[in-house]
């Protein structure tokens, strides 16, 4: 149940309430004063601003209305600030996850090897690419010449395909970072991948189908919190969690939140 439903419900209740009040009042008036003295002529004196008093009020009202609308829109829009969901920049090498992870079914952790050890999943060094691409050159596709994308790896590592040796100085390869968290949030891959056994796809989407990677999740705090509230701690097979679970004496369902997963200090320090 989210907050907006509740707010809407409250507003609805208020409206119903007010309508009831009005009805009640009207009824009361009619009962008590059958010969209603309230003159209706005074209604005629109400002349909406647009053909009576002056344009200033009109201007003010329009401005106010506009401001209110703008403010409301701004408020809703503000939820999207910093939300880069769907961000899909061009990368220096047209690397396709669909091909590598999808078609060839390579394990994510072959390249993103430190995801289980470190807070970063890290971008593989071109040296890692060379493990295969020293030999895999996709020449078939390019009429016998080496694929221009694979050539970029050779440039980055300083590999000379003719002599099969590292001859040149390596060059920087500037990947564009897609998943950006603000510096004030601490996130650790190993906690989620190794300990929590969360699939890469849970946060990064069906990466094995993406030709060009895009940001799948909002990466906003609400998104983190939602997951922490609903997912269970994977107690089994982890001695640390077994000990803590024993101490906490929680029931079978032990969500991340119950383990303190929504406390501020878990991510902000």
């Amino acid at each position: 149940m989210n907050i907006y439903n509740i707010l809407a419900l409250i507003l609805l209740l208020i409206i119903i309430f007010l309508l009831r009040i009005k009805r009640h009042l009207t009824k009361a008036i009619n009962e008590k004063f059958p010969d209603n003295l309230e003159p209706d002529w005074i209604v005629d004196t109400f002349q909406p601003w647009y053909f009576h008093l002056n344009k200033i009020i009109g201007l003010i009202s329009v401005t106010l209305l506009g401001l209110i609308l703008l403010g409301g829109y701004g408020f809703w829009y503000s939820f999207k600030i910093g939300n880069q969901q769907g961000y899909q920049p061009d990368q220096p090498i047209k690397f396709s996850h669909q091909q590598h992870a999808g078609l060839y079914k390579m394990d994510c952790r072959y390249c993103h090897s430190v995801a289980e050890k470190s807070k970063n999943a890290s971008i593989p060094s071109p040296g890692t690419c060379m493990n295969c691409h020293r030999y895999v050159q996709a020449t078939a596709k390019y009429n016998g010449s080496i694929s221009p994308e694979i050539k970029k790896i050779y440039e980055a590592t300083g590999w000379d395909p003719d002599s099969n040796k590292y001859l040149y100085a390596p060059k920087d390869l500037k990947w564009v970072r897609i998943h950006n968290l603000p510096d004030l949030a601490y996130f650790n891959h190993s906690q989620h991948v190794k300990v929590g056994k969360v699939q890469c796809q849970t946060c990064h989407g069906q990466i094995q189908t993406m030709k060009v990677v895009q940001q799948f999740s909002t990466l906003q705090m609400g998104w983190c919190i939602d997951c922490h509230r609903t997912s269970n701690v994977n107690v089994e097979g982890n001695k640390y969690y077994e000990e803590i679970h024993k101490r906490l004496k929680k029931g079978d369902k032990w969500t991340e939140e119950q383990n303190g997963g929504t406390e501020c200090g878990k991510c902000h320090y």
């Binding site: 907050i3 009042l25 008036i29 003159p39 209604v43 005629d44 004196t45 109400f46 002349q47 008093l53």
Partner: protein, 180 residues
């Protein structure tokens, strides 16, 4: 429906005069359309048999709304939606800590609920044309006015009664309600 109407009105310069006139006119079959005074002349409404306002009820209901709103807001945010450990206190319906905000929102809703109802009910709104028969009706003149189109208005009778009670001027006027 905007059209010119014809009004009969008498001008007094002392609150007691208009009060007496109102009592006298009300005793007849004639209906006073309205009186306009520069300040609240106590008793005039009774003399004119104006019903009592029910704004007090509105105020009470609005206050109740405010209180409910405040309590549910605090309960929802601090207990239901995201309970936190604040100074070791339990996240529950903590009556003492919720009192101030409940009170403040009750007052706020009461005041504004009633105020807005008052504006609406009394037709005190932007764009409302003021009904001014006499420029000095907000200064030191007291105006009693009759709708000349209403059935059964005995113009001579009311003119006489008003003059008798000290109206120094009785006039007829045709205007779009209010404006002169």
């Amino acid at each position: 429906m905007r059209r010119n109407r014809k009004f009969l009105y008498g001008v007094f310069n002392h609150p007691d005069d208009i009060l007496n006139a109102a009592y006298s006119v009300s005793a007849t079959r004639n209906q006073i359309l309205d009186c306009f005074t520069p300040f609240a002349v106590h008793g005039l409404d009774r003399a004119m048999k104006v019903k009592r306002s029910r704004l007090a009820l509105v105020a009470f209901l609005m206050g109740l709304t405010g209180f409910t709103l405040a309590l549910s807001l605090q309960y929802y945010t601090n207990v239901f939606d995201w309970p936190m450990n604040i100074g070791g206190k339990p996240a529950q319906l903590a009556v003492p800590t919720f009192v101030p905000v409940c009170f403040e929102l009750t007052v706020l809703c009461t005041a504004y609920g009633m105020g807005i109802t008052f504006f609406l009910r009394a037709r005190i709104l932007h764009g409302v044309r003021e009904t001014v028969f006499e420029a000095r009706q907000s200064d030191d003149h007291f105006v009693m006015c009759f709708d000349m189109e209403s059935k059964g208005l005995n113009i001579e009778e009311v003119t006489g009664l008003m003059k008798k009670h000290g109206a120094f001027d009785v006039k007829q006027v045709e205007m779009i309600a209010g404006a002169k």
